[in-house]
Amino acid sequence: MPEVKEDGPNDGGGGVQIDLIGADRMANMAGMEKIRMILDGVRDGNIVILEKGLSPDEESKLIEVTMTEISPDEFNGIEIETYPRSETSDQSFLDRLMGKESSAKLTVIGPANQIETLHKDENLISALVSRK
């Protein structure tokens, strides 16, 4: 998200940058664009919060691409948290048929060495974020 930065990449000088990404912005992006945007942000040391999370297929690709980018002493991977998917999903049969994943929920993603989940339940995610 370079357009929202004022002081350049989060290099430890001025705290931790948080990017809150709206559902409308994500809706216009292809799956790999979303993954690239997330990983670019996280690799800069940012915390990325998605208003509406990723589809299962995108989550699968996010794990795969994250693994290919892990590098010793440089990038250890990601910490990711979402609220649990609701048991009584309001996803209609038609939505499933059309491949729409309405069960996606707010998602927090950060560098594995900077974010630690303290508590998580169905409507609260509490995380400790540290600077690099």
Partner: protein
């Protein structure tokens, strides 16, 4: 033999192959690191073929490549299923080579192991999207199942409409709680077992035959 007869025969061969009940199903054994996936894969392979799949270890990411054991025939309650078992590396979103240093490993070995582990996880995710017909999801019943990786993986499996059998492994441990796993994934049937001790394998085989047959 006329052209028409030859054509009919070759179509018949193709349809036979497509719909053959004998075609082995590729069943991926998935789960977080150290859940006992390889111990289970070896138990199944030894019970039905006499061979093992790969080495087991308490060190995370011992399995760093997806390993396949082909044509494992399982027969239970009159149902027979032929499966290819695919033992996969434990899925995670992070790998830190420094964790391996705690297991008396030199830095060079730890870095190599972590690199292989990341490649293995990427490969396992690819298999899940493209190459498996069903999933056995193995969890360590002595640990909290309510993790992001488990939630995501089960979601990914469900989105692919793959049949999934959840196994609550390590029931031989004192801290084991099968109910905790049932509560975490109530939409799926959970079967308790100890792959190490071979406890409740009869039920596991019956369910494999039922789910993947």
């Amino acid at each position: 033999m006329g052209l028409f007869t030859e054509l009919k025969d070759s179509i018949s061969r193709v349809t036979d192959k497509l719909f053959s009940a004998q075609e082995p199903k590729r069943i991926g054994i998935y789960g977080p690191p150290n859940a006992g996936k390889t111990t289970l894969a070896n138990r199944i392979a030894r019970d039905w073929t006499g061979d093992a799949v790969g080495p087991e270890s308490h060190i995370p990411h011992e399995t760093r490549r997806a390993r396949r054991k082909e044509n494992v025939e399982i027969e239970r309650n009159g149902k027979k299923v032929t499966i290819d078992i695919v033992d996969t590396p434990g899925v995670t979103t992070k790998v830190d080579y420094e964790e391996f240093l705690d297991h008396d490993m030199e830095k060079e070995d730890a870095v190599r192991r972590s690199r292989e582990a990341t490649e293995g996880v990427a490969e396992a995710m690819h298999w899940l999207r493209e190459d498996v017909d069903g999933v056995i999801y193995v969890l360590d019943s002595s640990t909290d199942p309510f993790t992001q990786v488990n939630t995501m993986l089960i979601g990914i499996i469900e989105s692919q409409d793959l049949p999934v059998l959840i196994l609550a492994n390590k029931t031989d441990l004192e801290e084991s709680s099968v109910q905790r796993i049932r509560n975490a994934f109530p939409q799926h049937e959970t079967i308790p077992l100890s792959a190490l001790e071979g406890d409740n394998m009869d039920e596991v085989y019956a369910k494999i035959a039922e789910y993947f047959g």
